[in-house]
């Protein structure tokens, strides 16, 4: 569905929109293989206690051939592509002041589609109140800054947990994701990143090379975008959808050199069929639970034929498949499930859908230690308003409001969800487990 407002506001009428004070959503920069990581030089700032970590971050960036700056001074007219604020060592709110104000002074020199990324430590059980306040405060900073930035720029934060190092594989991969155009529609989010191996060499153009991925609900929309993105990232993909969707499913499979599996995921033998389909490709590595349906109804009018299928497809099917795959001895499985901002904030008329999506989020959190024990991870991605065939059917007024609500002032694209999922499923993201990452343009609902 074309967002005509977005096109108008970025067309010849752009000055008029500005003069009238109308919202001005930007054209977001999206990932293209081979294009530069950021749109300009990257400034790394920190408080004094975090200097060593800031150096480590700068070293990582330099390794990616990024133009790294350690001072906010720039040549006339030059704009930063990103600012990385390292606060890992800060122990009091006072220590945060100086680096934050340094960042403040650079924001007017942040390029369109720029990035602000904080690197801090998550609040942990047993933290002294002052330390907890210092660390916890970063969340409010990031979320507020996300709402302030314009021109397609975003603010996101890495929250290191446990003894995760800033230059560990997962911290580095997350930093790269937040800096890159792959996170175009991720804004105002803090992602907890746990310990992982030391960062090794990664083929960032093909982070899923040699992996076998399964994507459910892949015949169209977000599922098809996930399949395409994972194939682009080097994975062999088995695409799954219900038999009646087989024609477009086959088209997707043939486009990406994958395998089409016509399957009702609620069937008892779904896990067996998935294992059989992935066997010729070398076994199952990544499972994306994308298939989902809606049967919207106010709870006051709810009937079993609206409630039960939503629960069966969106939640029970994936619980059963996960359980059977683990029982079958699948190891190192990387699971990513589709949640929704509805699962976080609720949505009128979607008690059934909301139940399943909140369930997905809880399942990812609870499943984390189970998967970790087998060398795998389980995470969720919560899309906000995404432009798909499904949302194109929403009434025009609701659609317009939904598009302007997020900080980025527009709906996201299926590929935005796909990029986040491919990132979470990639090898270096192994330290991210049990999390739900919102891809919502900082939609104004829920946390």
């Amino acid at each position: 569905m074309t967002d005509s407002y977005l096109n108008l506001a970025n067309g010849t009428l752009k000055p008029v929109f500005k003069k009238l004070g109308l919202p001005q959503p930007a054209i977001l920069r999206r990932y293209r293989p081979g294009s530069p990581l950021t749109v300009g030089p990257v400034l790394v700032v920190s408080d004094d206690a975090s200097a060593a970590d800031a150096d480590a971050v700068a070293k990582v960036l330099t390794g990616w051939d990024v133009d790294v700056r350690r001072s906010p001074e720039t040549a006339d007219g030059e704009r930063f592509g990103a600012v990385v604020l390292v606060l890992t060592g800060a122990e009091t709110p006072a220590a945060v002041s100086a680096p934050v104000l340094t960042v403040a002074g650079t924001l007017r020199r942040l390029a369109g589609n720029g990035r602000v990324v904080t690197v801090s430590r998550a609040v942990a059980d047993g933290d002294a109140p002052v330390l907890a306040a210092t660390r916890g405060g970063v969340e409010g900073l990031v979320r507020s800054l996300g709402k302030e930035l314009r021109g397609g720029s975003t603010a996101n934060g890495i929250q290191l947990t446990g003894d995760a190092a800033v230059d560990s594989a997962s911290a580095v991969a997350t930093l790269r994701f937040f800096l890159s155009a792959k996170s175009a529609y991720v804004d105002g989010q803090l992602l907890p990143v746990g310990p992982s191996d030391a960062a090794g060499p990664v083929d960032w153009e093909a982070p899923l090379a040699g992996q076998v991925a399964v994507v459910t609900g892949a015949a169209r929309g977000i599922g098809a975008a996930i399949a395409r993105t994972m194939a682009r990232d080097g994975a062999k993909v088995v695409v799954i959808d219900v038999p009646p969707a087989g024609e477009s499913l086959a088209t997707v499979a043939n486009e990406i050199g994958g395998v089409a599996l016509q399957l009702d995921i609620t069937a008892d033998d779904a896990a067996d069929k998935i294992l059989a389909a992935t066997k010729p490709l070398g076994g199952l590595d990544i499972l994306v639970h994308n298939a989902g349906i809606t049967r919207d109804k106010l709870l006051a009018n709810m009937t079993a034929d609206k409630w039960d299928p939503v629960i069966a497809v969106n939640l029970t099917a994936q619980l059963q498949i996960n359980e059977r795959l683990l029982a079958a001895g699948v190891e190192g499985l990387r699971i990513v499930s589709l949640a929704s901002t509805t699962g976080l904030a609720g949505n009128r008329g979607q008690t059934n859908y909301g139940y399943t999506k909140a369930g997905v989020i809880a399942n990812a959190a609870a499943g984390a230690p189970v998967l970790a024990a087998t060398g795998g991870t389980t995470n969720a991605v919560a899309p906000g308003w995404i432009e798909t065939e499904m949302t194109a059917k929403v009434p025009a007024l609701t659609r317009t409001v939904a598009r302007r609500m997020p900080s980025l002032g527009q709906g996201g694209l299926p590929v935005d969800i796909a990029e986040a999922i491919s990132f979470l499923a990639s090898g270096p993201a192994a330290g991210i487990n049990g999390q739900t990452l919102r891809v919502c343009g900082q939609h104004m609902v829920g946390k």
Binding site: P243, G246, L249, A250, A253, N254, Q262, A267, P280, L281
Partner: protein, 440 residues
């Protein structure tokens, strides 16, 4: 029987990996203005997607169409070029009327067995909705004369031969060129000769619909059919039909015969559009890719009958082919777990079964010592056949082979014993092709 060659033990196996077809559609419905090439390409694309064959160079793709435009002279090769297979995959067309698909399978499996190729797709496609329209012979002659004429005057003179009535196109016909009888009228003669009742024919039709509907409901076709142009199931299927409804239909064939006409639109196969494709390979090729092996394509036999002089019924050739095939394999009808007998008409199946049970016929016509045997009806077309699914001529062979392979595979897994399916397809011209498929 002395002419039947002994099996050659030195060849290797040809295995069936899987099949794909598009849902079959009654003529003039979903696939109107969809060409044979479109449909066969779609069947190939679904098969490629199912087994991840994109960019793969297969040994050969062989198939055909019965009703074929002259522009489709290289139909199968053109379909391959329009598919995701490697363009270096060779292809050729075959045509043996309704046995086209099965004959294509026989051709490719023989090459696999001989070691000439490692992998192949066999199939077929047919459309009645996009059938070639032929101009009248007089118009064609005039146009050809004009084309060959050297002067303008001669061209004009040639064209002036054309009369308004010559402009009417020749109606496409499924009539036999030598008898000018339609297939239905031919079968009506055979039906009357064997005294096949209306009730018995309606029962075959009813079972076909019931069995096909159950197979669809159980998900049997989830990995055998890829939807096409919005059609997700065979639209000829009448899950709600009943013997009462079938009994009410008016006979359409055999009205001019002395006996009461018994063949109706309900117990005769309708004209249908569709396409199918089956993936075959050597065992080594399949194992190397860890692709599933459903069954092996063991052996096949073709036969023909003299229907022109009325000695035998047009669609009775498989009656002769099956005993020859089973004798060669040292098998009897009792050894067969699934009988896949193409339902051109319900009565074709019934006259075939009746002939095998008739001692006199088997002795005089088939050269056997006595009756060939009885087919266990509970093993007959257990997941439906052409009466319910429809019959796009060249696509039927592929539909049956894939179904048979899946059936024997499941049965063998369930019982731990080898399972066999016998495939029998009758065809215009008094032809018939039969084949034996066995679990691995």
């Amino acid at each position: 029987m002395s002419t039947t060659p002994a099996p050659v033990p030195s060849t290797r196996e040809a295995v069936i990996i899987g099949g794909n077809r598009i849902p079959f559609s009654r003529a003039g419905k979903k696939y109107v203005r969809t060409s044979n090439q479109d449909m066969f390409t779609a069947a190939l694309e679904g098969l490629v997607a199912r087994f991840g064959l994109q960019g793969e160079r297969l040994g050969e793709v062989v198939g055909g169409a019965v009703l074929k435009h002259s522009k489709n002279f290289n139909l199968v090769r053109e379909s391959v070029l329009g598919s995701s297979l490697a363009p270096t995959t060779p292809a050729y067309d075959v045509q043996q009327a309704c046995a086209t698909g099965l004959e294509a399978a026989i051709a490719v499996t023989n090459k696999i067995k001989l070691g000439q190729i490692e992998s192949a797709i066999a199939g077929g496609t047919d459309t009645v909705s996009d059938a070639p329209i032929v101009v009248s012979d007089r118009l064609r002659a005039a146009l050809l004369d004009a084309n060959h004429a050297k002067t303008t005057g001669a061209k004009v003179k040639a064209l002036l031969q054309i009369r308004p009535k010559d402009l009417a196109p020749a109606t496409p016909s499924t009539g036999e060129p030598r008898t000018h009888l339609s297939m239905g009228e031919h079968q009506a003669i055979t039906t009357a000769k064997w005294g096949i009742s209306r009730e018995a024919q309606d029962e075959i039709a009813f079972n076909s619909h019931q069995n096909l509907a159950r197979a669809w409901e159980s998900g049997f076709f989830d990995d055998l059919v890829t939807p096409y142009k919005g059609l997700t199931r065979d639209d000829n299927l009448r899950a709600d039909t009943s013997l009462e409804k079938l009994a009410k239909l008016r006979p359409v064939f055999g009205a001019k015969l002395d006996d009461a006409a018994t063949m109706t639109a309900g117990n005769s196969t309708p004209l249908t559009d569709g396409a199918s494709a089956v993936l075959f390979a050597s065992r080594e090729w399949a194992e190397e890719r860890e692709l599933p092996i459903l069954a092996k394509f063991v052996d096949a036999e073709t036969a023909a009958v003299d229907f022109v002089h009325g000695h035998e019924g047009l669609l009775m050739a498989p009656v002769a082919a099956v005993p020859r095939l089973l004798a060669r394999q040292g098998l009897t009808l009792e050894d067969i777990d699934f009988f896949e007998i193409h339902e051109a008409f319900a009565s074709t199946v019934l006259t075939t079964l009746a002939a095998w049970e008739d001692e006199e016929y088997c002795r005089t016509e088939l050269g056997l010592d006595g009756a060939f045997g009885k087919v266990d009806r509970s093993r007959l077309n257990v997941n439906g056949s052409s009466l319910a699914a429809g019959h796009p001529f060249a696509a039927t062979g592929g539909r049956i082979i894939a179904t048979a392979a899946k059936l024997v595979s499941a049965k063998a897994r369930e019982t731990g014993q080898p399972a066999r399916a016998l495939i029998s397809v009758c065809a215009a011209g008094g032809l018939g092709a039969v084949a034996l498929v066995e679990s691995v």
